[in-house]
């Protein structure tokens, strides 16, 4: 069977999905359809792992919460995903991770639906890859929002809507998902505006990140210059001083790593840093 495409969806949207389409034959794929019409069998996410826990009773069942700027994905790996489980068991949080997995909806009763991902592949990622993912996901999300607006504006349903969207040049995968979503979700243009607002906020956070990074760098450089009396700066002392300056340890470590990679800072003795 041909491999299914991995969809890019933000957590806020994915967690609000409560529509699924099961495959008709035993081995046919099943899909979760999101409020903007992403018809996903598989998702690709890069975010921050904030919590990893083994919630299994008799067998291992790992649950990892993966955050993006809009919300948190709930992801799982169990006994049938041994390699992923091993990786999760050794993971330190917080950590940038990239994952590919199957979209799942769990409906314990008539009133609640929980969207989650069963992890198929997982890797350690970087802030750059995460930023690129946010941008790409933003682009793809807005593509779908545009298609939803077209659908709402047409007041059409079913195959007539599908044809109308295809006529307008909407990608076939998106047209299919949008046609199903519009039938099910109470989506009006105000809901779409909310979604757009969240998407733009997510993309804006990339830039904020960079500015933040720039500010942090300056704080660290200044501190190191003022604290160095000739013999370098003790790392522990730097942590304390940075905290007082409003800079957390994780960010400090990232900045120090960057400076060392650039050759601007060295570690002449363990625990002592020196600006070059």
């Amino acid at each position: 069977m041909r491999r299914q495409v991995s969809w890019r969806v933000f957590a806020h949207e994915f967690n609000r999905a409560n529509l699924q389409q099961s495959g008709d034959e035993p081995r046919a794929p099943s899909f979760v359809i999101t409020p903007t019409g992403a018809k996903c069998n598989r998702l690709f996410v890069i975010g921050v792992a904030t919590e990893v826990e083994n919630i299994g009773v008799d067998t291992d069942l790992w649950r990892a919460r993966i955050a993006d700027p809009t919300g948190v994905f709930t992801t799982y790996a169990g006994q049938y995903q041994p390699e992923v489980s091993i990786m999760l068991s050794k993971m330190e949080v917080p950590q940038f991770v990239a994952l590919t997995g199957k979209a799942r909806l769990y409906e314990p009763d008539d009133t609640s639906t929980y969207a989650s991902m069963r992890i198929e592949d997982i890797g350690i990622s970087s802030s750059f890859a995460r930023d690129k993912w946010i941008l790409n996901t933003g682009i793809r999300s807005m593509e779908r929002v545009s298609a939803m607006r077209l659908a709402i504006g047409s007041s059409l349903k079913g195959w007539k809507l599908m044809n109308h969207l295809l006529d307008k040049g909407v990608d076939e995968n998106i047209a299919d998902g949008v046609t199903r979503a519009i039938d099910h979700y109470p989506i009006g243009s105000d809901v779409l505006n909310d979604i757009k607002h969240i998407v733009l906020g997510a993309v804006r956070s990339i830039v904020r990140d960079e500015l933040q990074h720039e500010k942090s760098r300056n704080i660290v450089l200044e501190l190191m210059q003022s604290m160095d009396e000739g013999g370098g700066v003790e790392y522990d002392a730097l942590i304390e001083a940075s905290k007082e300056g409003g800079l957390g340890e994780v960010m400090l470590e990232e900045v120090v790593q960057d400076l060392m990679r650039e050759g601007r800072c060295s570690e002449p003795k363990i625990g002592i840093l020196k600006l070059v």
């Binding site: 069977m1 041909r2 491999r3 299914q4 495409v5 991995s6 969809w7 890019r8 690709f44 890069i46 390699e83 091993i86 990786m87 991770v97 990239a98 994952l99 590919t100 198929e120 592949d121 997982i122 890797g123 350690i124 990622s125 750059f128 890859a129 930023d131 690129k132 993912w133 941008l135 790409n136 933003g138 682009i139 793809r140 807005m142 504006g153 047409s154 007041s155 195959w159 599908m162 044809n163 109308h164 295809l166 006529d167 307008k168 040049g169 990608d171 076939e172 299919d176 757009k196 733009l200 993309v203 804006r204 990339i206 830039v207 960079e210």
Partner: protein, 422 residues
């Protein structure tokens, strides 16, 4: 109400090539929009269709057409490329591709099979023009009238762009630049024979060629006009064959320089997977999965096949040779491709050489190496260049080169936010 409709009535006048339209036309439009709630673009189209017949419409170029959503007047175009896209969900098939009109290239989607083929020159009435992602696009549906024209009507109508060439095409004519050419000796039943192989390019695509006739008078950089060539499949890709009946002539047509033609054609993965085979293309996507058989592998020294222990299916017990490769699923959100990276490219991407892996392999099992590869490479963005061929389980690219992905996305972020300012 009249004021709202005024600009749309202007559009209709233009599409029908008339200075005035009757009250019946205006009333029809008004009724569709206000009584039936039909969206304005749809209403206009319906009116134009209904009142457009019987008029002598003149050919118009795209720029004279109604702006935004509208119906094109009569156009004459040449099909550059077309591919069929079957839908997995519905019974529907449709076609999409590229056409050229008056020297401009325009994308099109056709909901019906009009029998369009690359090189065909057609007169189309009633195509709908849309703007998609900032570019004009034509939509052809069952209400369009499509007439095949005599090839003499348009310029160079018999020439196919290389991107439109398909496996088992016969009688193909192309104008292109020779990027590579050279003799090659092959052994046939009648003894050794010299053939010529190389690469052709014309800006729309690149194509490898095989010539069964002497091509020693042709040099790299020459611009040629080939007529009556035929296309065979070779290694899963189209290969232009020059035979006894092919005319090979110099051409003084305008052609980009060899260095301009050298770069690969960049495309979305969904476009790469829609074709049976493609030569020298570039895609950008994320590694969404590392497939098994990646990392340190063992090969039979005689046939190069990947072996498990020290036994080859063909050669029995052998002393296996170590090698390194990565098989990755690369996905850009439009579709997914299996990319194979050889030892050199794998080392570039993974930042470890084969000898690094072999050192490690002395202490830890092979599958732990694969696990480490997965941990570091899953989610990595990649730009990769190579040939694409389609097999039963999907399309595959044997990578020739990988390029770093631009880390500075601030300009793209700015553009995204600018485009969507409320």
């Amino acid at each position: 109400m009249k004021e709202e409709l005024a600009p749309h009535i202007e559009d209709i006048k233009r599409a029908l090539s008339r200075d005035k339209v009757g009250d019946d036309v205006i009333e029809h439009l008004r009724s569709l929009v206000f009584d039936y709630g039909v969206p304005i673009s749809e209403a206009k189209r319906s009116v134009i269709r209904m009142y457009g017949g019987g008029d002598s419409s003149s050919e118009t170029s795209l720029s004279e057409h109604v702006s935004g959503d509208g119906v094109a007047g009569e156009i004459v175009a040449r099909v550059i490329r077309i591919s069929e896209k079957p839908s997995e969900e519905s019974e529907r098939t449709f076609f999409s591709g590229l056409m050229s009109l008056r020297g401009k290239e325009v994308f099109f989607t056709s909901l019906c099979d009009f029998g369009l083929a690359p090189g065909a020159v057609v007169r189309i009435k009633g195509a709908v023009e849309r703007e998609l992602h900032g570019r004009p696009e034509l939509i052809l549906d069952e209400q369009c009238e499509v007439v095949m024209l005599d090839a003499d009507v348009a310029d160079h109508s018999d020439i196919s762009p290389l991107s439109g060439v398909r496996i088992s095409d016969a009688n193909v004519s192309v104008v292109c630049r020779v990027l590579e050419t050279g003799p090659k000796t092959i052994s046939t039943r009648e003894g050794n024979k010299i053939i010529f192989t190389g690469v052709l390019a014309d800006g729309t695509g690149k194509l490898p060629f095989t010539s069964w006739v002497d091509l020693s008078h042709v040099s790299e950089g020459d611009v040629l006009r080939l007529e009556n060539a035929y296309v065979r499949s070779w290694k899963g890709m189209p290969n232009l064959n020059i035979g006894e009946h092919t005319t090979v002539a110099e051409s003084d047509a305008e052609m980009p320089s060899a260095s301009e033609l050298e770069p690969p054609i960049e495309m979305r993965i969904s476009e790469a997977t829609s074709r049976v085979g493609l030569f020298d293309v570039l895609v950008e996507g994320d590694i969404v999965s590392i497939k098994s058989g990646s990392g340190l592998i063992m090969r039979c020294p005689k046939c190069n096949r990947v072996v498990q222990a020290n036994e080859c299916i063909t050669h029995g017990v052998i002393e296996p040779v170590a090698d390194m490769r990565i098989k990755a699923a690369v996905d850009d959100g439009t579709d997914v491709l299996t990319v194979i990276l050889d030892r050199e490219l794998a080392a570039q991407l993974y930042d470890h050489s084969l000898s690094d892996l072999m050192d490690v392999a002395a202490q830890i099992p092979l599958d732990k190496i694969e696990d480490d590869l997965r941990m570091h490479l899953t989610g990595v963005p990649l730009r990769v260049r190579g040939n694409v061929s389609r097999a039963k389980h999907g399309s595959m690219m044997v990578a020739e080169e990988i390029y770093p992905v631009d880390e500075d996305i601030s300009a793209q972020v700015d553009r995204f936010l600018e485009d969507r300012k409320v």
